[in-house]
Symmetry: C2
Amino acid sequence: MYKSEQLALSLKHLIETGTWKPHEKLPSLRQQAEASGFSLITVMNAYQELEAQGLIYSKEKLGYFVAENPLQVALAKKVVLNEKIEINSLVFRYLKSIQSEKIVPLGSAFPNSQLLYSPKLMQTLAQQAKHRISYEQTPSLPPGNYELRKQIAQRYCMQGIPTDPSDIVITSGGLDALNLSLKAMTQAGDYILLQETIFYGAWQAAENLGLKVITIPEHPEHGLDLEAFKKAITTYPIKVCLLMLNSHNPIGFTVNEDIKFELAKLLHEHEIYLIEDDVYEELYYDQKKPLSMKYYDQQNLVLHCSSFSKTLGAGFRVGWVYAGKFSEHIQHVQLMSTISVNSFIQNALADYLTHRHYEKHLKSLRNTLKRLKNQYYQYLIKALPEDCQVSYYPSGYFLWITLPEHIDSSRIYEKLILNDIGVAPSILFYRKNKKQNHIRINCSFEMNDEMIKKLDILIAQISER
Amino acid sequence: MYKSEQLALSLKHLIETGTWKPHEKLPSLRQQAEASGFSLITVMNAYQELEAQGLIYSKEKLGYFVAENPLQVALAKKVVLNEKIEINSLVFRYLKSIQSEKIVPLGSAFPNSQLLYSPKLMQTLAQQAKHRISYEQTPSLPPGNYELRKQIAQRYCMQGIPTDPSDIVITSGGLDALNLSLKAMTQAGDYILLQETIFYGAWQAAENLGLKVITIPEHPEHGLDLEAFKKAITTYPIKVCLLMLNSHNPIGFTVNEDIKFELAKLLHEHEIYLIEDDVYEELYYDQKKPLSMKYYDQQNLVLHCSSFSKTLGAGFRVGWVYAGKFSEHIQHVQLMSTISVNSFIQNALADYLTHRHYEKHLKSLRNTLKRLKNQYYQYLIKALPEDCQVSYYPSGYFLWITLPEHIDSSRIYEKLILNDIGVAPSILFYRKNKKQNHIRINCSFEMNDEMIKKLDILIAQISER
């Protein structure tokens, strides 16, 4: 046993026996080192081990404190402080592997582009380019094109969320919106709460900023586990949550309104900010439009991030954040990175939205995605072995396949790539020490004969193992 | 006197008397604290003070070391370790103030858009949008559109720089190229060398990444001061330099080939990376095209950053970095931020460059800028008081006016803004404790009667003081 482990064990005893009470300050590293004869490094390692176990938490410049309910956390192990995440290389290799044209893009994160890039929008762009409209004296600086922000604000208002164009900041896509929000709201060392299963971009953003990541598991029925959430925010001094509540990527669930209401109350009570990743918000069907957490947000704690990438095309690189009172702060960060967003596309989008073409396009897109998702679901559910599950939710264009626990989906991915079929293995969505028995399938491509052949290979590989 | 200052003074004595020799390791913070009875914080403050004075330097995890030639540095004060830079708010307010349409944009960083947004390019974009060309299965992921990279690579080759499309990464403009390069090449706490007078974006990028910034002053004749550069790199463990050597913003100089050659030798000898900001590279006249440092770079130490913002329009948000062997590393960082660059514009630019329209456009742009810059220079040099200097260089579209030392150019800026005239005061380009007696003027706008009226107000304000 290392010295630091031994020290951690003995300190843990002090906490478990109640000698050290919740929120009591621990001795400083130096005090502890002097008292024990251990080196500063050993003490630091021991403290970090206790922190990783959820028994203590740290506050910048103030030191370490005993957690609220350390016992439950340590026992339940439902809330996890994660070690440094290193999935960049993995994601990079994965994205490169599915980029080739010969790869059937069942693993793609983007919807079938045949369904996007609305001809009306492209005509608008063509007209404006031809007449050299929309090049301005200076490029549109943050917060971005006023008309576009006005149109976006109007869409919020129509959902019962009072919004002013000045609340919106246009960004270079949805991930840029998340990144700018995170940068504006956090400092290295801050605690952030993420869902255990989440879009890899969120992990990378947190890693990049040196944040301490706390994760909570998904609720098998409701998506968001409120109990785990409460435990996490009472155990750790969480500053910001980054959550996906509508058409969750990769699983697919949408959190119901009761839970969103409770979540909003908790955020308010504990003064925790929420960065809401809602890029699939428009891709619902057989249900009314799911509400954004912004709807419940009286205290301006929610930064709502969305984009046109999943509805009109990721090639545009246009997203936004409902920044509210943090608008200026986010613009500062933006001026240090990309400065602004392509002004031609912003102008074309503004015009397209003004003429209400977007609503028609969305309606047709939803119908197509619904039809395709049903086809894929029916096909897979019939053909896959009985010990596999396919989750179906009436939104988005992903199916989440659960394989038997002993199967490593990364190996399925490796085999399929040799057959020119891309799928998204679960390793992309959570840390390594979890069971890796899931696959995400993109079902936005027509199920023609060619696709059915490929699906059959996929099914055969899964059945064979 | 604070305890830490007192301690710093006494340690300085050890260095100055040669008791502690160059590159000798200082006692650790803890050793020093125990030896002296001072607290760890006091010792840390004292060390940081010595570091700021150039007497010692730090290496991550290894501790502090005596600088190479601490005495000269401390006495000459030519090389400066800068305190935390806080100019975001300033730059933000400035950019907002000149954004209004009624403000005459003599303070703008962007060239007159009437000279950019080439009709041929806009036609190409219109054609492609109309026929819905260039929307791909997936948006163009890093490193960006192949054809565009091929065209850019070809331009390097024609300047005698062997280049492959795979060396190039397309970015969301020039600042994004700088930021991605900095992020890929540095970690918080690393030493970076900047020019004392520099584009504010570079300052902000360094601040954002927690780098230790060393600056060297400009050479009055050559632009780059090689002696100061040598002193800086032998005093501090500089990892990366970020320099602008062609048509320097804001001053305007272009460093000659002899000095570039020497600089390349120094980079090689000391294994220091150079991020070269070269966004004005195409805007030269009455001279041959200035060489990039990439020309001298046998060891792949130079990351060359450029863009189309100053030649075709900043509204496109397309730049690039010659990343060479660091391409993959930079793509990793890009996948965590903007993912990729607008695919339509990339495609249109590729087509535009392929058909060699760009060369014609550049030729005409250079002629216009030359004519305008001469007009402004002649007008200002005649009308300004004798104690003002106007620097003229045959490139770019900036004039750099030096006022008498006692004049604070920020006050001139404040007065002119009230007259709807924007200018760029020197506070935007270097830290506060320098004489602020410079103004940058954008002379890319036609000198019509209206402009002459505004210039006369500017001249009157400067004369009046």
